[in-house]
Amino acid sequence: MASALINVPKKARRGEIIEIKTLMSHIMETGYRHTAAGEVVPRDIITSFVCRYNGVEIFRADLFPAIAANPFITFFTVATESGKFDFEWTGDKRFTETASASISVE
């Protein structure tokens, strides 16, 4: 099943500022809601997101219950060398997802 949508430019000039967009499929259940019977719906959220560029961490975010379902995280970085971006989402209930995208820098 599809879980992530990643948008990284395939090519960039060295030193160029590029935008990276990520969308992860997740319900982001806050833990503050109750069922009709009055029971608390347990919290189930993504708690952390990390992006590594050729193994080096370039972006990290902590996520909280107020963040909507299917979190869309976008950020900028400088294209320094050709290689790979690795993305990792981790969360409650041992949630972990990874994705990657390549870029060629000229």
Binding site: M1, S3, L5, N7, L23, A69, N70, F72
Partner: protein, 259 residues
């Protein structure tokens, strides 16, 4: 005593007011998209930002996976959806000869599952049914809405139109009172749109999920504090049919994003 001419004028005024509560002129029809803020439009415009695409990708996987006792996938009969399903969603709800009534896209998918795949019907608003519907509907993106012109649909279309015009519920409102008469105004800070179903199933930020047109209609009906119809009820399909005929000629946007 009231004179005859006064009564005649009163009758004419009543007739005129019922006439004014009807269709929006062709040139003034607008998709819900045009009522959105630039930020929300940007989500719909970018397929890597549009969460509806998560369902489309799921639907593509389901299209290719075998289901039911017949061991067939959708693609085994329909081949590549990119060609076989192109423009299909723009023609639904369509008349089903065997059932003798119109069926919407979700119902068609479930009929196919039960009859040809010999699988169980998927529940309304389940992730799988929304995913398959979104995948099929996406193949009609930019196709022009042109509902079935089968003459047998006419009584159903007329009933859908009657329901659209009918005042109901504790607030005593008909669909037309907002979506024909007051679409250029706001209700509790939100734009009242013209109610053209150009992008279903669509991702609603309020729902934090994809949802069907029937879900939208049920929310509207409970919003006017009337009794909602069950999912799959003939009344909802008739209303869908009228709404699609009302939006005839407008381009499809599925999976759209709405606030």
């Amino acid at each position: 005593m009231r004179s005859a001419p006064t009564i005649a004028v009163a009758v004419l005024l009543i007739a005129a007011s019922t006439l004014s509560a009807t269709e929006i002129p062709q040139g003034e029809r607008r998709s819900g998209y045009s009522f959105m803020t630039p930020d929300t439009r940007a989500i719909q415009d970018d397929d890597t930002a549009n969460p509806g695409m998560l369902w489309v990708l799921d639907g593509e996987a389901l299209w290719k996976s075998k289901a039911g006792a017949a061991g067939k996938a959708c693609g085994d009969c329909h081949d590549d959806a990119r060609t076989s399903m192109k423009g299909v969603a723009a023609r639904y709800p369509a008349f089903d000869r065997t059932l003798g009534r119109p069926v919407d896209l979700e119902q068609r998918i479930n009929l196919c599952r039960v009859q040809h795949q010999q699988a169980t019907a998927l529940p309304y608003e389940s992730r799988d049914l929304l995913a398959l519907t979104a995948f099929v509907a996406q193949q009609s993106r930019d196709a022009v809405i042109s509902t079935d012109v089968n003459p047998q649909l006419e009584p159903f279309l007329a009933r859908g139109r009657d329901l659209f015009m009918q005042r109901q519920g504790q607030l005593n409102l008909g669909c037309t009172n907002c979506h024909d008469d007051n679409w250029d105004r706001r209700l509790a800070g939100s734009a009242i749109t013209q109610g053209h179903p150009t992008g279903y199933p669509l991702y609603r930020l309020e729902w934090q999920s994809l949802g069907s047109l029937q879900r939208r209609l049920r929310s509207c009906i409970s919003g006017i504090r009337a009794q909602t119809y069950d999912y799959g009820a003939p009344e909802l399909v008739e209303l869908e049919l009228y709404l699609m005929s009302r939006a005839r000629g407008m381009p499809m946007e599925a999976p759209a994003v709405r606030p």
